[in-house]
Point group: C2
Chain length 132, copies 2
DNA sequence: AGACAACGGTATCCATTGGATACTGATAGC
DNA sequence: GCTATCAGTATCCAATGGATACCGTTGTCT
């Protein structure tokens, strides 16, 4: 039997879990999900909170999140229009692992900035040492 | 005082944690780190295991990971050349949150595929219902 | 001696994606 | 009318990602 459709090996390019994994790693998707963690938010609010995404890209992001069942989109028949996005249960279940990742990022910022400085200095030295 | 350099609000585009967070979300970076979780791996091995990344992009990924202090690059003076990549302590500390995310992805694949099917069917119906 | 293979990349080119900006459509308030 | 609000599209251009070809070094094979 083939194991491609079983959950799943992220390293197998034919395994759907890989696609899912990379959707999480989308530049905006994960931020949107974290913003929606506090409850439903409408489009323009989302734009402000996510700081700073163009409407086109935000729309794309929201559509794929909706398609994957992570959020719902509710249109209220008003003028001016009102559209609210909200996490589904599935979306909420993603909140915890994402939060862990965010905490890692926020707490390791100093180490990483330090590493960058050291790396860049080393690069400079290398250039100065052998100027071709 | 300004809070921009404190760890850190991912939603603030001026906060370094945002950059860090998005590096984690890089398409290949997170896969590379997970592969390196089992010990040092050389370039060509990495290419095979990560399935399938072009050498240019893998090189880019590895350089930024190195710059951020998440991996080390060791060149052995041999012919043919041998270069090994290995997680630093910082890189290893990322392993746990990443693994949680991977587990989430692998275990929720069925729900997501299901949601996609439903969404696509709904789209089809909408098109059939109002064919302009 | 010459050809070939192994490895870790670069170089080059083209397709896809992302982003900036301008615009639309419906309606309520002035 | 004119304007504002909201949730997006449309259009265009820049940046990124990917496919493919190639390079340098040296050991082995013939």
């Amino acid at each position: 039997m083939d194991t491609n459709n079983l959950p799943g090996n992220v390293l197998d390019p034919n395994c759907p879990s890989r696609v899912v994994f990379q959707r999480i790693g989308d530049k905006w998707a994960s931020l949107v999900i974290q913003v929606l963690g506090d409850g439903p938010v409408r489009f323009s609010e989302l734009r402000k909170m996510v700081n700073v995404v163009t409407p086109k890209v935000l729309t794309q992001t929201l559509r794929t999140l909706e398609r994957d069942g992570l959020i719902t989109r509710t249109v209220y028949a008003q003028v001016p229009p009102r559209v609210e996005y909200e996490l589904t249960a599935l979306g909420e279940s993603l909140l915890q692992p994402l939060t862990m990742l965010r905490q890692w990022a926020e707490s390791h910022v100093p180490s990483i900035l330090e590493a960058r400085d050291a790396y860049d200095d080393a690069q400079d030295d290398a250039l100065l040492g052998s100027p071709n």
